[in-house]
């Protein structure tokens, strides 16, 4: 969102509770207890973060913009949770509300059951990995990593031990004495991670941390992040606009658009069973078909397509039929068959794109709409199809999903 960049000039902090209080009660718990005066009861299996009816409005009067429009979501303990959406969808705003850099206009944010929404960031056992890393340029790698612990008033020996442990975790031992300006982007990324993990936060927030890295490094870091999350057992909340990143790394994904959460689910749920057109469109490639629900039972339906063919499809949760509906079919879930066969759809091949691992067939259906089928390549396999040939499309038992909108 355009506001994401120009809104933040100086962090606005609330006056309560008084700053400096974090000097007291600085015992940092491993898993439970009190951190920074924040009482954090440990409730295994419960939600780490619960966002309840949170609204965030920027600006006043005519210029009001609702960056978040009454969002509710629960993030479980130990989860790799991703907020996915295009820029301007409010994902960064939600992250900043959890971090404490901004404060919600309405609603509650619970951390292990306690409302943290009014607390300043230095009172929350939550740390952030910033998109730009925001490493302190006047400190060395080790000083950066130790900063949080130092601010918590930990004894020097403990800080040193923990910093050494963190350096080892992110494989940066050799560069601990370097200034942060003297290391590469990927290394800065690791330092930023180590710095945020060192105080053992309850929740780690990651704001598009991989977007500045090149492709290969990004792939490496994706695996690295997964490993870190697994080893530390900390809840990760990861913000990205990259669907592939989200699908690869997440336990669950929340897809956001225009200040709302559209769907929350596992990567497979989101991909195979998108609930709304935006979700289907934003993640992966999709074919949309118009139709009518003919009958429904047990979350499944028989849908009559515009062409008159009837195909089975699964229904989204909380679906109520209302006239025409839209179906989504992923290109790899449909198969091409000879034109005469018992096909669900029929059309003409317009274009064939060979992509190495698979081939895309761009079809023009009889009703004039476009349809893409993806087929995995094998050596010497596949019948010879040329642009212009008439083909049929088979949509299998489990390939189609009805959308809510």
């Amino acid at each position: 969102m355009h506001r994401d960049s120009d809104r933040v000039i100086a962090p606005q902090l609330p006056s309560r509770p008084a700053y400096g209080d974090n000097q007291t009660g600085t015992h940092l718990p491993q898993r439970a207890g009190s951190l920074n005066g924040v009482i954090v009861p440990e409730q295994p299996g419960k939600n780490a973060i619960e966002v309840r009816g949170v609204r965030k409005v920027f600006g006043t009067g005519e210029n009001q913009v609702a960056a978040l429009d009454t969002v509710s979501v629960s993030i479980r303990e130990n989860e790799f949770f991703t907020l996915l959406g295009p820029s301007g969808c409010g994902k960064t705003t939600l992250l900043r509300l959890i971090a404490g850099f901004d404060f919600p206009t309405a609603g509650e944010i619970l951390l292990h059951g306690q409302d943290i929404a009014p607390l300043p960031p230095f009172k929350r056992p939550v740390n952030t990995v910033f998109q730009s890393y925001a490493l302190f340029p006047h400190m060395t790698v080790a000083q950066n990593i130790g900063f949080g612990l130092e601010m918590l008033g930990k004894p020097k020996a403990e800080i040193e031990a923990r910093v050494a442990q963190m350096l080892k975790l992110v494989k940066m031992e050799a560069l601990k004495a370097r200034r942060t300006s003297q290391i590469s982007g990927g290394q800065q990324q690791r330092v930023a991670l180590a710095r945020a993990l060192a105080p053992q936060p309850k929740v780690l927030l990651l704001d598009e941390p991989l977007s500045a890295l090149d492709y290969k490094l990004r792939k490496e870091m994706q695996i690295e992040l997964k490993r870190l999350q697994h080893e530390t057992g900390i809840t990760f909340i990861f913000v990205t606009h990259d669907q592939e990143e989200a699908l690869t790394m997440s336990d669950r994904i929340a897809v956001m658009s225009a200040g709302k959460i559209l769907q929350v689910g596992t990567p497979r749920d989101i991909y195979d069973r998108p609930a709304e057109r935006f979700v289907a469109d934003f993640i992966g490639e999709s074919n949309f078909l118009k139709g009518e629900v003919k009958s429904m039972a047990d979350g499944r339906a028989i849908v009559r397509l515009a062409s008159g063919t009837e195909i089975p499809a699964s229904l989204p949760e909380g679906f109520t039929p209302s006239g025409g509906i839209t179906l989504v079919v992923r290109p790899e879930h449909a198969q091409i068959c000879p034109a005469e066969a018992n096909a669900s759809l029929s059309g003409t091949v317009e274009n064939i794109v060979y992509l190495g691992t698979d081939t895309h067939f761009h079809l023009k259906l009889d009703d004039g709409s476009a349809f893409i089928v993806r087929r995995q390549n094998s050596r010497g396999g596949g019948e010879a199809l040329a642009p212009g040939s008439r083909v049929g499309v088979v949509i299998g038992e489990n390939a189609a999903q009805v959308l809510k909108d």
């Binding site: 962090p11 404490g100 960031p121 925001a134 302190f136 006047h138 000083q143 949080g148 601010m151």
Partner: protein, 307 residues
């Protein structure tokens, strides 16, 4: 045909020549107008004074230098410390020091305030800070006089409110000089600090808060180290002109509360002791340079790790 290497070498030579040509006017002015007069002053400081000012050319004497710190007894011709000079030296150094510290104290929050405004508003604030530069120093100093004199704004207001019965005697004291210098030199502190602060990445401030640093710690451990170059520049820009201030102590300090600038002026006019004036001038310059060296060295040394 010339080889590529020769062509490159010729181009380099041309570059160097062009650079010298372009800097020649500036070099000539610096040599003639800045360094030349310094040597004249140095020479004058080692000559005997003339009876009606000026110096006696061709003479050599250390009188000018000895009288910077010492004076001869009129009766027995022994050397004693020149208390009046020492007082003036001390006043100059201490007032300049206080001016620097206080402008820093006022200037830092001002610069922070401006740097945290939205970009468009920032320009307006910077513009407001620079407005005093449009007015002559003398006029601004007299304006200050109007504010602090016995019948001035401050005293009239305080008496009207019944807070004081007698006017506060601010004029012709060191306090008046200090107030004047703070007023005059504050923009010179605000602007360099603002320039540093504007470049400060405020995400670092957020990162500090995120890592459990409170406001004071963020200021001390993150903001201050990063804008130190601006603080150093501002301090230098305030301290040096303060040390040599002439108009401000003359107008606000009255005749008695002299600073170094006034002492030097006195030697070249009514005092008719040009060698002494020259010697004090060079001393002042030396003090400034030593102070600068010490300050810059300390400042660059102390950005180590605290933990």
């Amino acid at each position: 045909m010339a080889s590529a290497e020769e062509i490159a070498r010729a181009a380099d030579a041309r570059d160097i020549r062009d650079r010298w040509l372009l800097s020649a006017p500036a070099l000539v002015i610096i040599l003639l107008a800045a360094i030349g007069p310094l040597f004249v002053m140095l020479a004058y400081s080692f000559m005997l004074k003339g009876d009606y000012g000026d110096v006696q050319f061709g003479t050599f004497s250390l009188d000018g230098w000895t009288s910077v710190l010492f004076q001869r007894d009129i009766f027995d011709d022994t050397l004693g410390l020149a208390d009046a000079h020492l007082t003036i030296f001390w006043r100059s150094i201490s007032l300049s020091f206080y001016t620097t510290v206080l402008t820093l104290l006022f200037g830092f929050p001002t610069a922070y305030f401006i740097a945290t405004r939205p970009p468009k508003t920032r320009e307006v604030w910077v513009f407001l800070v620079t407005i005093p530069f449009w007015t002559n120093l003398l006029i601004r100093t007299f304006a200050m006089q109007q504010v602090i004199r016995n019948e001035g704004l401050v005293n009239t207001a305080l008496m009207a409110l019944g807070i004081i019965k007698q006017p506060l005697q601010i004029m012709n004291t060191d306090t008046a000089i200090l107030l004047g210098m703070i007023y005059i030199y504050l923009p010179l502190m605000v602007l360099p600090i603002y320039a540093s602060m504007e470049k400060l990445d405020f995400r670092l401030v957020e990162a500090g808060y995120d890592l459990y640093a409170g406001r004071w710690q963020v200021l001390r451990r993150i903001i201050f180290p990063l804008i130190k170059p601006g603080v150093i520049a501002g301090s230098i820009l305030v301290f040096i002109p303060s040390l040599g201030a002439y108009v401000i102590p003359r107008v606000l300090g009255g005749g008695k509360n002299m600073m170094l600038g006034n002492l030097i002026e006195l030697q070249f006019s009514a005092g008719r002791n040009w060698p002494l004036g020259a010697a004090i001038s060079i001393t002042l310059m030396a003090v400034v340079m030593i102070a600068l060296l010490v300050y810059v060295r300390n400042a660059s040394k102390s950005d180590g790790f605290h933990g």
